[in-house]
């Protein structure tokens, strides 16, 4: 009977192909969204994670507040805080030739480009974690950037201090404790995915990452990689 | 140690699929005897319902009183009755239609039956064998005509349906309904012969018949064929079944089973070995 009348066997094929292409594109977007760390108002409880190998690459310290741009904030006294760059960023970038800090008295804004480092002729900016007025600068770090980056004690690794009038409001936007660990876990995941196993070499090497590993990963575009993580692209 | 067991089990499963493959080859090369079939010409049926009575008698079932009021609504076969007549009226005439199992050429019920209790015989009738049936009712689910009926109120339930009097045929006889129909509305013969006869009737009296033999192609062809003076939808025949044999709906799946059994294990093993190299996870997992 069908052979007497026009009947299109493949009438929906066109739309189906469109759907399938839409699926591929949207799936990539969906997956990326799924892996993006969420905003910080959620409760989190991470136990002594089984996947400790990843988290233990980069230190997260108690009582420090972290900005997604990889700077940390420590409350000194009153509403004065000290600011430094975290372990991840430090290892990512390696030894700087020059460190540029905001000037004394300058007003800085949370999420804006605040300081920068010069490494191998390229300038890498970092985002400021708080709003406020710069009240002190670590001159030692500015004068001897190479010594500064090789320090082992986190406590004298501050770069500059800021008076933050609305301290509490600022801290709400930052990560600490379990949330920070979760974030670092995500960052580590993202890193291992980007490198598709290249970092295996670093792991076997006693679990220590080489300083400036961004250059190991992507010798041509290490600065682009760094900006990707520091959110300064 | 584990590899051997693994291979042995694979082999066992693989071997069990062999019958499907070889059996298929067999039937494709030698067609054998043609099916016996029944042609029901509804234009000749007077609604005397003799077939209903003799069917019950021939099958050793309880006979009951037949009233005209039975025909007032459409009935279905049941565990008490293997065949029956339904009456369909339109402005012009009354049409009596005999209803029973269609004895499909490629029956869904027989292909569904995992114990071969439902069996398509070489001769044509589809029969049910009590000693094999587990009562799973998969045949009922699969039949496009909803023919098989189940004895829900018995502790030892049977599946009940018309058998085209298979046992009588084996002894050289005719189905009871065919033998006793006073108007010869039901005739018996080889399927091709009946199709020829049906086409002849349509050609000779085109005004009396709709130009279609129900069962010639429906559901891949059945061994019970019908002629009608009105379109078959009007006498409540299922006309949306398509011309493909119902078991073919499952062949896609069934044919892929051996493929999966062959492809999955090496693929999984390969994946595992690949992942083992990555991080030491897999090996540690295995040793734990």
């Amino acid at each position: 009977m069908e052979s007497n009348y026009f009947y299109d066997l493949f009438s929906t094929k066109g739309i189906e192909y469109v759907l399938v292409i839409m699926f591929l594109i949207s799936f990539v977007m969906f997956f990326r969204y799924l892996e993006k760390p969420a905003r910080l108002t959620a409760r989190v409880s991470i136990p002594a994670a089984i996947e400790s190998t990843l988290i233990n690459w980069f230190q997260i310290l108690e009582n420090y507040f972290y900005h997604p741009g990889h700077c940390w904030v420590k409350v000194e006294s009153g509403n004065v805080v000290s600011i430094g760059i975290d372990d991840f960023a430090s290892k990512l970038l390696g030894t700087p030739n020059k460190i540029n800090l905001p000037r004394l008295g300058e007003n800085i804004a949370q999420g804006e480009m605040g300081m920068s480092m010069e490494i191998d002729g390229k300038r890498i900016d970092l985002l400021t974690p708080v709003n406020g007025e710069v009240v002190e600068i670590n001159q030692d770090a500015v004068d001897n950037p190479d010594l500064f980056s090789r320090r082992t004690d986190e406590s004298d690794s501050w770069l500059f201090k800021v008076r933050v009038p609305k301290l509490k409001a600022n801290l709400v936007n930052l990560l600490s404790g379990d949330l920070a660990k979760a974030w670092m876990e995500e960052v580590s995941h993202k890193l291992s995915r980007l490198t598709t196993g290249d970092l295996g070499f670093a792991l076997q090497d006693g679990g220590q990452l080489k300083d400036g590993f961004s250059k190991e990963i992507s010798p041509e575009n290490w600065d682009e990689l760094a900006k990707e993580f520091l959110l300064t692209k | 140690m584990e590899r051997r067991t693994f291979v042995k089990t694979l082999g066992a499963i693989g071997l069990s699929t062999l019958p499907t493959i070889t059996k298929g080859a067999e039937s494709k090369s030698s067609p054998g005897e043609e099916f016996n079939a029944i042609l029901i010409d509804t234009t000749l049926c007077t609604g005397c319902r003799t077939c209903e009575e003799v069917c019950l008698e021939a099958n050793g079932m309880q006979e009951f009183e037949m009233n005209d009021s039975d025909l007032e609504k459409e009935r279905d076969t049941s565990t008490d009755q293997l065949t029956l007549i339904n009456l369909y009226e339109n402005e012009e005439n009354e049409i009596y239609v005999k209803k029973q199992c269609m004895h499909c050429s490629q029956p869904a019920c027989a292909s569904a039956c995992l114990t071969k209790a439902m069996l398509k015989t070489k001769e044509g009738p589809v029969i049910w064998r009590e000693d094999k049936c587990m009562g799973c009712r998969f045949c009922m689910l699969s039949c496009p005509f909803d023919v098989p009926k189940f004895e829900y109120h018995s502790a030892n339930p049977k599946i009940v349906k018309c058998t085209m009097c298979f046992e009588r045929q084996q002894k050289g006889g005719l189905p009871a309904c065919v033998e006793n129909c006073p108007s010869e509305a039901i005739i018996f013969g080889k399927r091709t012969e009946l199709l020829t006869e049906a086409k002849r009737r349509i050609a000779e009296s085109p005004d009396d018949y709709v130009n279609h033999i129900y069962g010639e192609h429906e559901a891949g062809g059945t061994c019970v064929l019908y002629l009608s003076s009105v379109p078959f939808e009007e006498i409540n025949f299922r006309t949306n079944l398509g011309n493909d044999a119902y078991p073919e709906l499952t062949t896609g799946f069934l044919y892929s089973v051996p493929l999966v059994i062959i492809l999955w294990p090496p693929f999984l093993l390969a994946m595992r070995n690949a992942m083992k190299g990555k991080v030491n996870n897999a090996e540690e997992v295995e040793n734990e």
Partner: protein
């Protein structure tokens, strides 16, 4: 005190088992009393079913040969047991250690599920004593999808038994036996995943010949693939929900490792479920377009389909996504529950609700059918609890196991 070659001392094993038969906790608890009542009523009804036939206890009819014993107990139950093969794939094939702490309880659940649902199947059979026919081979109906499903069920139960048997051996202290069984694990896992692929899809394939009887929004030649894909998130959601319950109920039996890893496992599972739900949604959309099914939307069945798709597939996908991103355990569990309800709805739709949706008299289960279903579930829970309280399923393996490793 002599041991035989296998390192099994029959006498002490026997004494040990006897001692283990004593109850490990209070006998009279709310749960136990309810369970006992339900099981007792169920037992009576089962006797009634065998004496007077299926019709005395169920609402099955000539129009509806299959009801909730098949649609829910067997088909939905098996979908939920899909966590076992999914997790085995992740742990043993992909080598993701994160889920190792719960692999035993998941496989045990899967094993018990198949055993009990095979039991439920026997109840549904009209002549269960003939079930050996397709097994011992006096006539193999190899053309039948159900033949395949039946065989796969049996083989899969065996492989799961092999997978979980090291735990039994550890409980009994049979060291050599345990070592041998442990060596079979990888083979059992690979076989298990292969078998599961086939019978999860096979359960869907059972409905392929019911072409005109299932509403077009649910019927397609790809039912087997849909069943297989959905069995992944069905099983993992069951792991999430059941794991959360076990976490509270079996707290005192849990090893540190199982206990502490709970949350990270929960979030990992949520992520996997989110992705598979997303994929499934698109598969359904593809079939919807392929069949030009928009014409069906304006009807009761159409509304039901939309409810299933939007409320029970799309919604849990969103919930799992956000719960994972925000690391919120509560919402992961909520997502798990909604997904499970969605699977129940989907399987019931295919087997009973969208089946003969045009019929004048629709099927609805009798209270007795529901009661017997509950009895089976409670019995399974009791057995599960008995095993967990005695064997190293959630708790650590005995010390001698670690000494065996090199």
């Amino acid at each position: 005190m002599s041991s035989n070659e296998l390192g099994i001392n029959i006498k002490s094993t026997y004494k040990f088992i006897l001692s283990e038969l004593k109850p490990k906790s209070k006998i009279i608890t709310h749960f136990n009393v309810i369970a006992f009542i339900i099981i007792a009523i169920g037992a009576v009804l089962i006797v009634l079913r065998f004496v007077k036939g299926l019709g005395a206890v169920t609402n099955l009819s000539q129009e509806y040969p299959w009801g909730i014993w098949i649609g829910f107990d067997v088909i939905t139950g098996v979908a939920f047991a899909g966590g076992a093969y999914s997790l085995c794939f992740i742990v043993y094939i992909l080598g993701d250690k994160k889920y190792k702490p719960i692999i035993r309880v998941t496989v045990l659940n899967g094993f018990l599920a198949y055993v009990f649902y095979a039991g439920a199947l026997l109840l549904d059979l009209g002549k269960p004593w003939n079930v050996i026919n397709p097994i011992i081979g006096n006539s193999f109906g190899v053309s039948s999808v159900m033949f395949l499903v039946a065989w796969h069920f049996m083989l899969y139960m065996l492989t799961e038994l092999v997978e979980i048997s090291p735990a039994f051996a550890e409980w009994l202290g049979w060291r050599k036996v345990r070592k041998y069984l442990h060596g079979l694990t990888l083979g059992a896992v690979i076989l298990g995943i292969t078998l599961s692929t086939l019978h999860q899809s096979g359960l869907g394939a059972l409905f392929l010949m019911a072409k005109n009887k299932i509403h077009p929004l649910w019927y397609s030649e790809f039912i087997p693939i849909l069943f297989f894909v959905s069995s992944i998130f069905a099983g993992l959601s069951m792991v999430i929900v059941e794991g959360s319950i076990s976490h509270k109920v079996f707290k005192n039996r849990m090893s540190d490792e199982v206990s502490k890893s709970h949350n990270s496992i929960l979030f990992g599972l949520a992520k996997i479920c989110a992705v598979v739900l997303y994929v499934y949604l698109f598969l359904k959309l593809l079939l919807f377009i392929h069949g030009e099914h928009w014409v069906h939307l304006n009807s009761q069945m159409g509304v039901l389909w939309l409810v299933e798709m939007i409320g029970f597939v799309a919604l849990p996908c969103v919930i799992f996504t956000q719960a994972f991103r925000y690391r919120n355990e509560l919402w992961v569990k909520i997502g798990g529950i909604i997904t499970m309800l969605g699977i129940i709805l989907n399987r019931l739709n295919v087997s009973v609700i969208a089946f003969k949706w045009y019929a004048a008299d629709r099927y609805f289960p009798s209270w007795m059918e529901i009661e017997i279903t509950l009895a089976i579930i409670f019995l399974e829970i009791l057995v599960l609890r008995w095993i967990i309280h005695r064997m190293p399923i959630l708790s650590d393996s005995p010390v001698w196991v670690k000494n065996e490793k090199h």
